[in-house]
Amino acid sequence: MNGEINFNVNINENINQIKGVLGNSNDLLVRIFDINTKKTVIKLAILYISGLADEKKLDNLSLEFNQLINSNNYDFQKSLDTFYERLKASFLCSSKAMEGFDYETLYNQILSGNTIILIDGYPKFLIFETFGPESRSVSEPTSQTIVRGPKEGFTEKISTNISQLRRIIKDKSMKIENMTIGDLTKTSVAMVYLDQIAKTEIVDEVRTRLSNIQVDGILESGYIEEFIKDDPYSIFPTVLNSEKPDSVAAGLLEGKVAIVVDGTPFVLTVPAFFTDFLQVSEDYYHHFIIASVVRIIRIISLFLSLTVPAIYIALTTFHHEMIPTPLLISIASQREGVPFPPFFEAILMELTFEVLREAGIRMPRAIGSAISIVGALVLGQAAVQAGIISAVVVIIVSLTAITSFAIPNYSLSNAIRILRFIMMILANSFGIFGLYVGIMILVLHLSKLKSIGVPYLTPYAPRIYRENKDTFLRYPFWKLNNRPSMTSKSKEPRIKTNAPISGDKQQQELK
């Protein structure tokens, strides 16, 4: 069954064995036919799995086969070798033809949707690439919606995804390295990078990490993300995922390496920095002042989402003097008659919100509206009116909810969501002091993190002044001269026009 050369040459025996190994499943189609030559009759067999092979490609193949059979000018007098070579050469135009001579290859190829042609009495077989399963067409990404910019997203098909990248970057330096990961799923994974920009160390590191993955199956790029992450226990994402070809292409232009995984529209980009998770491709399509302000709003949202409930708990249980008197009067009057301490109150409402959020995602669409009614009316309003929860806490929970939605990356948003609870516990035990220590530990942790060997807080720590132009603020394009030095080896400026271009200036330069 395995082994290389001992391919059984008898075609009927072969077919029976293949059928047996594949469990006599009825989606394996076998066609046996004869080719009459002047001297002998050559027996051929075509095998493929019906659902995996593309109908169109099969049609083409059979068309060419018909031509071959009908044109009787094939004179195979010498041997099967010449017949085989002629056969192989005559199909080159329709689809890729490869050859194989052992069972292992045969099973792999047939299960990958390719078509096999066996020749009776000959130890080699031909493989035609006919893989083309049913797949989704390119559509708008659902997880990253935008107002302005390309609306197409990646699909589950790796070849479509790579072609989308190819269509954006039409340069010969874009390299694609294919590999197969997963002992059973044999998922094809492609590493895409720009040869002249990406740092060789990073590319090599990514390649080694990917090739060292030993697992039975890869079902989504999240598997790969967890395997190649530098600090596997850290809650912060150090691998960026995106559903949008334009943002992946932007990463490639900065010297990053994209990892495209078959079967998922989420393409990974490494190395990823903390600031990358707060940026959106749309930032670059709008005016730079607007983009900068929006980025600042996102950073404020991140901070608020992390700390607002903790600050509320700290102020109401420890630091009453820090609340302005009129506000204190209002909070005190609202808290009058509320049976729970602020910490419990806040935890209760935050948990309720998290449950609502989780339920909202998992619920069937049709009953989704019921969730919002229960959440908003029953929990929010009734709890306040019944005096179980104070109105301030409802405001605070809504604020954290809104601010957490303003974080563009879902992975980072999730991390902040969990850390918020830790901050609340710290605030309840040590007040503002605890919150402060918590934030300090968080910053230390962030500075320790690395993404494929590159510090996570680049360009803040290590501080690179020149590259601070595209972090909290987005400078105009004509100021973003250099590629990030941590990821790109090319010292060539990416923007060669210095000032805003105007006709007058060009004329002056000409003179």
Binding site: F318, H320, E321, T325, A332, S333, R335, E336, L426, N428
Partner: protein
């Protein structure tokens, strides 16, 4: 490896213990505290009568209307302030918290005995904010001042501190003092403290009857006059115009209203939009002389039809009238202070700064030196604008 794992678990456990065992320590919930917003101090036979006005959040709660006052008064008699504050728990279900103390009211009798003990408590206690205001109840006790309900601001103490703050910025006739300034002026050799007074107007009855609030009447509390202290003891009062003089000398009139009166032109209202006062000291025959130089900018706010404001001479005339009134007010307030032998203007500090060596001679007996010292008052008033119109509309009709 095993050791490392065990060490890790021990670290985690100790951190958890730190967090959860200390959880209740010093944890004070808002609804378990009684927030004192003002304190009153009166003198009694037993020592101090402490009146604490505490917020009643129950009554402020917006949705329900409860026939309850927004504040609750607690009184306690004894010797030591901090003991009395804590002792209120015997009357109230909640512990008194002084972090939001806004005003401190001294009864007149108490102020005469000295306020330094209270100031020590307020500056030593870490919970007290430093932005609270002081007032002295003129011819009254602090208890009676605090035992009033006010309008507009439902809360008497909030009303008191709000009107103190507002009048400090917009009216020259009052003066607020923060705790730091008060302590500084007490310990300084060349300056004495002065605190705004508060009186009860005729309307008020001493009870906290809510029905009283339903009548359309003015608030029972009025900020007026200035209590003059010598060290920490009350020695006398400046009336409203003298208080204005005091504020002009100490450069503390961000904005105010005044008027000048003339036989021919009637009453002309002026808005003070800026003052700049320089106090300088000089020595003559070894004795100090103080020169007060005031530059005041005013706008004309109201005028009668008798004066033609389009003429420069008339404007000058108004300026001269205002200068005369200003120097008179300032003179009166300095005279009063001299009579009380209390240098509330801080002239001593000016002498100290200018002549540090000679100051040693006057230092010990500055009160008497101050009473004898000649003070030169120079006032310059400049009219900047005459408002949005120049002459009164009614002037033409008479012609």
């Amino acid at each position: 490896m095993k050791l490392k794992k065990r060490a890790f678990i021990i670290i985690i456990l100790t951190t958890m213990l730190c967090i959860f065992l200390s959880g209740c320590w010093n944890n004070r919930r808002i609804d378990s505290l009684a927030f004192a917003i003002s304190m009153g101090f009166d003198k009694t036979d037993k020592g101090i009568l402490l009146t604490v006005e505490v917020l009643n959040p129950h009554a402020i709660a917006s949705q329900k209307t409860i026939n309850e006052p927004t504040v609750v008064l607690y009184t306690e008699e004894g010797q030591s302030t901090n003991e009395l504050v804590r002792k209120i728990i015997t009357q109230s279900s909640r512990k008194v918290n002084v972090t939001h103390l806004q005003t401190v009211v001294f009864g007149e009798e108490f102020a005469k005995e000295g306020i330094s003990d209270v100031l020590d408590y307020l500056t030593r206690e870490h919970q007290v904010r430093t932005d609270l205001y002081f007032v002295v109840a003129r011819e009254n006790t602090a208890y009676r001042i605090l035992n009033n309900l006010t309008k507009l601001d439902t809360n008497p103490s909030v009303k008191l501190s709000a009107s103190l703050k507002a009048s400090d910025e917009t009216w020259a006739g009052t003066r607020t003092v923060k705790v730091i300034d008060l302590v500084n002026s007490i310990i300084s050799d060349g300056a004495e403290p002065a605190i705004t007074g508060v009186i009860m107007t005729g309307h008020s009855k001493v009870d906290d009857n809510l029905d009283d609030l339903k009548e359309v009447k003015a608030d029972p509390l009025k900020i007026i006059d200035l209590a003059v202290f010598k060290k920490d003891k009350l020695v006398g009062w400046l009336n409203e115009s003298e208080c204005k003089g005091y504020n002009y000398v100490t450069n503390h009139v961000p904005s105010s209203m005044t008027y000048v009166e003339d036989r021919d032109y009637g009453i002309i209202g002026l808005e003070v939009i800026g003052t700049k006062t320089k106090v300088e000291a000089s020595l003559e025959n070894g004795k100090p002389i103080i020169t007060v130089n005031m530059k005041i900018r005013v706008n004309i706010e109201s005028a009668t039809d008798k004066i033609d404001l389009s003429k420069g001479d008339n404007i000058h005339y108004v300026e001269n009238l205002a200068e005369a009134k200003l120097t008179k007010n300032v003179g009166l307030s300095i005279m009063k202070a001299k009579r009380l032998q209390s240098d509330i203007f801080g002239f001593g500090d000016v002498v100290h700064r200018t002549y540090p060596k000679e100051w040693e001679k006057f230092k010990d007996d500055w009160d008497k030196e101050f009473a004898k010292m000649p003070v030169v008052i120079k006032g310059t008033v400049r009219v900047v604008k005459t408002g949005t119109i120049s002459n009164s509309y009614f002037m033409k009709e008479k012609k």
